[in-house]
Amino acid sequence: MDATEEISQENAFYDRNGAAKIHDRIQKRQQALAEDAERRKDAKKSHSVREEKSEYFLRTFNAERAAIQELLTGCSGADRPVVTQQLEEATAKMTQLQKFLNDSVIFLSQYEIRVAQTALQKLQTSLSETREEALPKKKFAFRSRTKAAEKGSDCPPPPETAGSGVTKMDGAAVSKQADFSNISNEYLTKKSEDIQNRDVLLTHLTNCKVRLYGSPSTLHLKHINACEILCGPVATSVFVDHCSNSILAFPCQQMRTHNTTDTQVYLHVTSRAIIEDCLRVSFAPFSWSYSTLDQDFSASGLDRDRNNWSQVDDFNWLAAGTPSPNWTVIPEEDRKTTWDP
């Protein structure tokens, strides 16, 4: 009975205030909706990724670009090692910047991409210009080589067929090499004009003394026994293979030694010497000298101040920390100081 009374009372209340009440509710609802929308908008703003805004991209890109530019301007007039380091840094930064651009491509407009790409290209050009300016290539080696290369690339097409072309090229290559082979018990020398910028090959020599005055491009020593071989600055690599009981001396950029035993090397190496399958090879700094050595050094383009003769990598000894048993440093008191016979 009570319950029905209450309901009827409520109905009466509604009847009276119904319209006002509903209006009120609608208003409240609308307000809540608006607040909700506002909140969602805020949330969205705070969630969107900062890195995907084009202002962010432009700011970062321009800052990086300015930093690189500064590195490059800092290069003019600085010392060689400083310049090298700065250029290296600039190159690394440039790569990073390119990567950053590539990563950002997806949310940038076409125009922005194009502008950034052009800026990068400009930067790349000025980098290579700075490099060219600060660390110029050694003129002598560079010129003579390109000339030779041009000559080489110009001649092959003419009349011969493919087959004869190969034999001819082989012949040309061999004639360009200044060689000694199959000789015993002799004193052998080569002058600068015979070996300058060429590949020199010495094979099957026994008990010989060899003096190469000049700056070859590469030097190959193969099957050498009981010889003393001295050579001027080698512009690139020296290969030593199957060499035993010998004394070698030369400056070079890299030295690669294989299957060699009981051999002393008086070495100037600007990058690294390596040994592989070698036993009892010993090293000391290069100490031979002859009248035109300075001249040949500059022709080879080797850095006289950088000599890594005592840092030998042994490819058969990859344990870091413990030194390889296959090579040693010649103690100072045992080093050869007089060379000429």
């Binding site: 990724v49 290296e88 490819f315």
Partner: protein, 184 residues
């Protein structure tokens, strides 16, 4: 993280390529890699182990693996074969004495099952040296014309001057892209 970021990551993954650079020691693999990346090439020493470079070119992300070529390292080459898209074989054209070695190493690589799908680019390197063989001579010496199992191309180049490096890389990327990103 926005949806764009996710999409971007997926897209990136798709455009990634793995290139393996091999060849005899002193062929110039590291020099090519560094030159391609615009780094200084005058201080490179023989690679004891390997170098990896990730770089962007033509909108592709390239993971280039440069593995040392010394005899004692060649047995480790196979550790790097997995999922290789392109094989770059570098030849020292001035090293006439070891061309036969070079041919043998290459032909045994091409028999490798895990390299079956890879495109082969042969760089006839050191064309700047006076004693260098032409790319035609190298093509013959390595018997490239007998290769039927792989797409291949030979390009004469000089890592020191940078000549033709881009041309070679572009060919390689185009060939790989045509194979694996056909939907693009």
């Amino acid at each position: 993280m926005g949806l764009l970021t996710i999409l971007k990551k997926m897209k990136q993954k798709e455009r990634e390529m793995r290139l393996l650079m091999l060849g005899l020691d002193n062929a110039g693999k590291t020099t090519i890699l560094k030159k391609f990346n615009g780094e200084d090439v005058s201080t490179i020493s023989p690679t004891l182990g390997f170098n990896i470079k990730t770089l962007e070119h033509k909108g592709f992300k390239l993971n280039i693996w440069d593995v040392g070529g010394q005899k004692s390292l060649r047995s480790y080459w196979r550790n790097y074969f997995e999922s290789t898209d392109g094989l770059v074989w570098v030849v020292d054209c001035a090293d006439v004495l070891r061309l036969e070695d070079c041919r043998q190493e290459l032909s045994s690589l091409l028999l490798e099952e895990r390299l079956g799908g890879a495109t082969l680019l042969v760089f006839a390197n050191k064309q700047d040296l006076p004693g260098a063989l032409s790319k035609e001579a190298i093509r013959e010496a390595l018997a490239l014309d007998d290769i039927k199992t792989h797409h291949w191309c030979i390009i004469g180049c000089s890592a020191v001057t940078g000549e033709n490096l881009l041309a070679g890389m572009d060919w390689l990327l185009d060939d790989i892209a045509a194979r694996i990103f056909t939907t693009d």
